[in-house]
Symmetry: C2
Subunit: 133 residues, 2 copies
DNA sequence: TATTAAAAGAAAATAATTATCCTTTAAGGG
DNA sequence: CCCTTAAAGGATAATTATTTTCTTTTAATA
């Protein structure tokens, strides 16, 4: 298990064992729901409180260490903050993949057409993965 | 106020006064949260139950009459089902606009690259509208 | 090693959503 | 038109999700 102490500290987060484990799970799994994260954490910390999960998720979001991904017709998952990217979701097995799609020209055109100062783009493509088709 | 009886019936929904009002509000406002919908409905129906709002929203979604729009860092809003489109959201005033963006080539390329059978695309661009900049 | 602000855990509180149960009503058939 | 009935509405309870509070423990650093 890699040591993520510095990653946390760079985001002004104390490196507690619980946070190191959350970080490790996020690195390993890529995307995870509150529910599943709690289940996995319980295996490592016998008496961890669900409040600890929520408090950490919220603080980590505030400190831009992680981000929520809101998926249509499914529960939110959380991921480590990385460079902007889109998501590909399987509607059957719920797998979530990060994909790199260039939206620059769409953003530019839309900004101009609607006089919006666009700061974030969020694209989720949903369907069936190869296995589930 | 237009009569939406047939619109509802086409989706196998009984045309109750409450549903006609919800439909009218959706047509007029375009996008609305549960909370605001409830407040607006209370003005027309003195003793409407919040359960009625939720039950109708859920049934209307099941029957594809409306759809949920999950917005990053904000509450979900609901809209009447229309042809596929994207959304432009102001992070300050929370205005939500429907925009038409051609994602066909992105969908095709991604389908091929990842062997996914993509069924839905969901793009939300967030930033500041002209007024809020 | 001692100090202290922050984090963890337990439990209570709050918020959001759904279910239950009884009353009312939309819809369609005679 | 009335009658019948399945479905919908309203009130409220129950459930689920999330946040808060409070006390104990601990990471960070001096």
């Amino acid at each position: 298990m890699i040591n993520y102490t510095n990653n946390l500290r760079e985001h002004n987060l104390k490196a507690t064992p619980q946070r190191l484990a959350i970080t490790d799970i996020l690195y390993t799994k890529g995307h995870i729901s509150v529910e599943v994260l709690y289940e996995m954490m319980q295996k490592k910390f016998y008496s961890i409180s669900l409040a600890t999960i929520y408090k950490n998720i919220n603080l980590m979001i505030e400190n831009s260490f992680i981000q929520e991904v809101k998926i249509p017709n499914a529960k939110s998952v959380y991921e480590l903050t990385k460079e902007e990217h889109s998501h590909l979701v399987c509607q059957k097995c719920n797998e979530v993949l990060d994909i790199k799609i260039d939206l620059d020209s769409i953003v530019t055109k839309t900004s101009d057409a609607y006089h919006f100062n666009i700061k974030n783009s969020n694209l989720i493509l949903s369907g069936l993965c190869q296995n589930c088709q």
